[in-house]
C-alpha cells in the first residue's frame, strides 16, 4: 500500500514537475540570452492559455487550438521582445526587473479586463478514466502531461543541438560580438528566444489549467515553483532547469502527501533559500566569474 501510494505520488509529482520544468526552461532560455529574469513568464503563459480557451469556445478542436495557441504565443513573445524589451536591453538590472514586473501587471490586468476574474474550467485532452498498471492507479492527465512535456523538451534539445538556427541562437546568447562577425542577426536571435520561451510557457499553461483552473492569477504559484526549479538546477543551465523542475514537482508532491498540503508552497520557497545558501549556482549551473 505504501509503495503504491509513493509510486502514484511520484508520477503525479513528475506531471506537475514537467510543467515546472517547462516554465523553468523558458526562464533559463531568456536569462541566458539576455540576462533578464522574466517575471512575466507566468502571465504570458496564462494569457496564452486564455487564447486557447477562446479558440476552444469558438469550436476549434483541441489539438488544433493547442497548435494555434503555440503559434500565437510564439509571435506574441517575439513582439514583446521587439517592442518592449529591446529598448531596455543592456540597461541596469533594476530597470529590467521593473520592466518585467510592469509587463506582468499589464498582462494580468488585460487578461482580467478581457476575460474577467471569474474562474473557468479548462478541458484536458486526455481521458478522464484513470489508468491502472497492476495495483497502481495513475491519472491519465498526469501521464499525458509527462508525455507532452517530454516530447517538447526532446524537441527543444534537438533544435538547439542539431539545427543551424539553434546553434546560431546559442551563439548569439554566448558571444554576441563574435556572432555578428559571423553574419548572425543577434537581435533577431534574441527575439526568437523570447518567442520560443513564450511557446514553451504556453504549453505549460494549457497543461496545468485543467488541474488548477483558468483565471488571471493562476500562474502566480506555478511561477514560484518554476523559480525554485531554475534555482535548484542552476539558472545558467537549461538541463539543470529541467531536472530541477521534475525534482521540485516530486518533492512538492511527496511533502504534500506525507507532511501536509499546507506546506507545499513553503517547500518551494525553502528549496530556493537552501540552494542559494548552500550552492548558489545550483546543481548544474556554473558560477559566474566577472573581472572588475
Amino acid at each position: 500500500m505504501a509503495i503504491d501510494t509513493l509510486l502514484q505520488q511520484i508520477v503525479s509529482g513528475l506531471a506537475t514537475g514537467g510543467i515546472y520544468a517547462s516554465l523553468a526552461l523558458a526562464l533559463v532560455m531568456i536569462y541566458q540570452a539576455t540576462e533578464i529574469v522574466n517575471f512575466a513568464q507566468g502571465e504570458m503563459a496564462m494569457f496564452s492559455t486564455y487564447l486557447a480557451w477562446s479558440l476552444l469556445n469558438h469550436g476549434v478542436p483541441y489539438w488544433a487550438a493547442f497548435l494555434g495557441t503555440l503559434v500565437l504565443a510564439f509571435v506574441g513573445g517575439l513582439l514583446i521582445e521587439r517592442i518592449i524589451v529591446r529598448p531596455v536591453e543592456g540597461k541596469p538590472v533594476l530597470t529590467l526587473v521593473i520592466v518585467c514586473i510592469g509587463l506582468l501587471v499589464i498582462v494580468n490586468s488585460v487578461a482580467g479586463w478581457i476575460y474577467s476574474y471569474v474562474i473557468q474550467p479548462f478541458p484536458s485532452p486526455f481521458p478522464k478514466a484513470p489508468i491502472r498498471i497492476g495495483r497502481v492507479v495513475f491519472g491519465a492527465h498526469d501521464l499525458g502531461v509527462i508525455g507532452v512535456t517530454l516530447v517538447l523538451l526532446c524537441g527543444l534539445y534537438a533544435f538547439f543541438r542539431y539545427t543551424p538556427l539553434g546553434l546560431a541562437m546559442r551563439a548569439a546568447a554566448q558571444n554576441p560580438g563574435s556572432s555578428r562577425l559571423c553574419g548572425i542577426r543577434v537581435g533577431w536571435m534574441l527575439a526568437l528566444g523570447w518567442g520560443l520561451a513564450a511557446l514553451v510557457g504556453a504549453v505549460a499553461g494549457m497543461l496545468i489549467a485543467p488541474v488548477i483552473f483558468l483565471e488571471p492569477n493562476m500562474m502566480g504559484g506555478i511561477l514560484i515553483y518554476a523559480f525554485a526549479a531554475a534555482t535548484l538546477g542552476g539558472i545558467t543551465s537549461p538541463f539543470g532547469a529541467v531536472v530541477g523542475g521534475f525534482l521540485v514537482g516530486v518533492i512538492e508532491n511527496l511533502a504534500g502527501t506525507f507532511i501536509g498540503t499546507e506546506l507545499k508552497l513553503t517547500v518551494a520557497l525553502l528549496i530556493i533559500v537552501v540552494v542559494l545558501l548552500v550552492r548558489p549556482s545550483g546543481l548544474f549551473g556554473h558560477a559566474v566569474v566577472r573581472r572588475v
Binding site: 551563439a171 559571423c182 553574419g183
Partner: protein, 237 residues
C-alpha cells in the same frame, strides 16, 4: 589594380576621446595591406570601424559599395571576415560548431562540408580536435580556429587583428604561411594589423604606419621596410 577596400577620412571616437582622426587607406583586390603601429595607435579600432563594430564617420567602400553605414552582420554577409582581437572563440562550443558558425550565412551546405575538410587540411590539429570544446584549445590552436572560422565564410576580404599576439614564433610562422597560401591560391584579399612589423612587411604588398590615430607613412611594403625611421622604430636595426 582595382581596390577591394577603400577608406577615406575615417573618424572614430569613444565618447570624448578621439581615436582615429580621418585616416585613409586601401586594400587592392587580391592584395595584402598591413597597418603597422604601436599599442594604442588605433589599429584595432580601424578594423572594428571597417567591419562595423564601432560607430564611425567617413567613407568605407567595399567592392565599390559604401558600407560605412551598415551593421556588422550585413558587412559579414557581403564577404568580409573579421578575425577580432581576442579571437572571438565560442569557447563552450566544439571546434566543429565554431566552424559551422563561420559558415552560418552560407546556404550551399555541400560546399560548406567540402570547405570543412579543406580547413582541416590546412589545420590538421583542428581536425583531430573537432569534437573538443574550443575553450580547451591552446592559444595557437585558438588562433588557427579563428582564422579557420573566418575562412568558412568564403570571404573576399579577411581582416586580421594581430594574429601573432602571444604566440610562439613557430606557430606564428605557420599562421602567416597559411594566410599567404589563402591569399595566393584563393585570391582572398587581406587587411592585416600587426605590431610585429618585420613579419607583416614580409607578407604585405602595401603598408601604412599609424601613429595616434593618423597615417604618418604609406607606400609599397618594401619601400616602407627601407625607410630609416621605420627601421629604427619598428624593425629594431
Amino acid at each position: 589594380m582595382a581596390a577591394i577596400l577603400e577608406v577615406e577620412a575615417l573618424h572614430v571616437a569613444y565618447g570624448a576621446s578621439r581615436v582615429l582622426h580621418g585616416i585613409g587607406f586601401a586594400v587592392e583586390s587580391g592584395g595584402i595591406t598591413t597597418i603597422l603601429g604601436a599599442n594604442g595607435a588605433g589599429k584595432t579600432t580601424t578594423l572594428r570601424a571597417v567591419s562595423g563594430m564601432v560607430a564611425r564617420e567617413g567613407i568605407v567602400r567595399f567592392d565599390g559599395r559604401r558600407i560605412d553605414g551598415r551593421a556588422s552582420e550585413d558587412i559579414a554577409r557581403l564577404g568580409v571576415a573579421h578575425v577580432p582581437e581576442g579571437r572571438g572563440t565560442f569557447v563552450d562550443f566544439s571546434v566543429e560548431e565554431n566552424l559551422w558558425l563561420g559558415a552560418y550565412v552560407r546556404r550551399d551546405r555541400v560546399a560548406v562540408r567540402q570547405d570543412l575538410e579543406r580547413v582541416y587540411g590546412h589545420f590538421p590539429v583542428l581536425g583531430q580536435r573537432r569534437r573538443q570544446a574550443a575553450g580547451t584549445l591552446s592559444g595557437g590552436e585558438q588562433q588557427m580556429l579563428a582564422l579557420a572560422r573566418a575562412l568558412m565564410l568564403r570571404p573576399r576580404l579577411l581582416l586580421l587583428d594581430e594574429p601573432s599576439l602571444g604566440l610562439a614564433p613557430l606557430v606564428v610562422q605557420e599562421i602567416f604561411r597559411i594566410v599567404r597560401t589563402i591569399n595566393q591560391r584563393d585570391g582572398v584579399s587581406v587587411l592585416l594589423v600587426e605590431q610585429n612589423a618585420a613579419l607583416a612587411l614580409g607578407l604585405a604588398d602595401h603598408a601604412y604606419l599609424l601613429e595616434t590615430g593618423r597615417v604618418v607613412l604609406a607606400g609599397p611594403a618594401d619601400e616602407i621596410r627601407r625607410n630609416d625611421a621605420v627601421r629604427r622604430a619598428y624593425l629594431g636595426y
